[in-house]
């Protein structure tokens, strides 16, 4: 069985991954979904076991031998009942690549995923929030000025890198 070569990076774009000379080439465009401000309390309700699209990115690798997806989200969840109901999932062309830990109020979660030998066709990368709770849970963008929180990934965002082999 072929085991894909992986390099787990934990950096903020456009800082290169450790051990790799990276070229930051976001050849796609990031499309964020529309989110409600937390102060309005107009949350999006997500059914038990359902997935909500946070962000998507269409990307065409120029050098497909070494690509890295960096996705993150900073959201507020079921605010005054339960904060740990959602995990993020990263999909590439409808195939799951990774899942984060639970998301929590006020904290940013990220996923990084590195893979090799993607075809030089256009790929669809998606970041989704999965509701693991047994009932419906609510979610909204964490943008309230009063509450602070991390604004790097309001709602959800994805970056794309191509890397040269170390």
């Amino acid at each position: 069985m072929r085991i894909a070569r992986r390099v787990i990076v934990n950096v903020k774009p456009p800082v290169p991954a450790v051990g790799h000379e990276q070229t930051q080439t976001a050849t796609g465009t990031v499309t964020n979904t529309t989110w409600q401000d937390m102060n309005t309390l107009e949350y999006v309700s997500v059914a038990a076991g359902a997935e909500l699209l946070l962000a998507s990115l269409s990307v065409t690798p120029v050098n497909p031998t070494n690509v890295c997806y960096y996705a993150g989200s900073s959201c507020a969840f079921e605010y005054y009942i339960e904060t740990s109901r959602f995990k993020m999932r990263l999909y590439v062309d409808g195939v799951q690549k990774a899942e984060s830990g639970y998301m929590t109020n006020n904290y940013m979660r990220i996923i990084t995923y590195h893979e090799v030998n993607r075809p030089t066709t256009t790929h669809n990368v998606e970041l989704k929030a999965h509701n693991y709770y047994s009932g419906a849970s609510r979610i909204c963008q964490y943008t309230t000025a009063a509450g602070g929180g991390n604004r790097e990934f309001p709602g959800g965002a994805i970056s794309f890198f191509e890397a040269k082999a170390a």
Binding site: T33, E51, Y80, G94, Y102, I111, Y132
Partner: protein, 132 residues
């Protein structure tokens, strides 16, 4: 830790190495929700897919147990929002607490994969629900 678990969804195309290249938009290739079979305290982990074993219907995952915040039992008022109910106060997990939970989580995952595989496989039949 590395584990093998069933995956579900519809594969539309394989690459030259036999890996799923494209999944159905309506039924993506994804890992089963095995958190449903573990106590909630033992579900604070993330994973990355190393590869898919399409013939076996399993994915090989690299699982990482993550730190969590522990409720203190106190409730905190939401600053500037007297109309909201108080939220539970939490604190950082101590290293000893983390090590203990990490050990128990990994034991539970091994138990799940090795002895309760039928439960995991049963989750493959769960329908996909997407929301916008």
């Amino acid at each position: 830790m590395i584990i093998r678990v069933p995956f579900t969804g519809e594969i539309l195309e394989l690459d030259e190495q036999g890996q799923p290249l494209r999944g159905s938009p309506d039924n993506p290739v994804r890992i089963v929700d095995f958190q449903d079979l573990l106590p909630s305290e033992l579900t604070h982990f993330s994973y990355r897919v190393i590869s898919y074993d399409v013939l076996a219907g399993e994915a090989i995952l690299d699982v990482t147990v993550e730190p969590r915040r522990v409720p203190t039992g106190k409730l905190l008022a939401v600053e500037g929002r007297s109309d909201l109910e108080p939220i539970p106060e939490t604190r950082e997990e101590t290293p000893a607490e983390f090590d203990d939970r990490k050990r128990r989580t990994e034991e539970a995952l091994v138990d799940l994969v090795e002895r309760r595989k039928a439960d995991l496989v049963a989750l493959k039949s769960r329908p996909y629900i997407a929301q916008r």
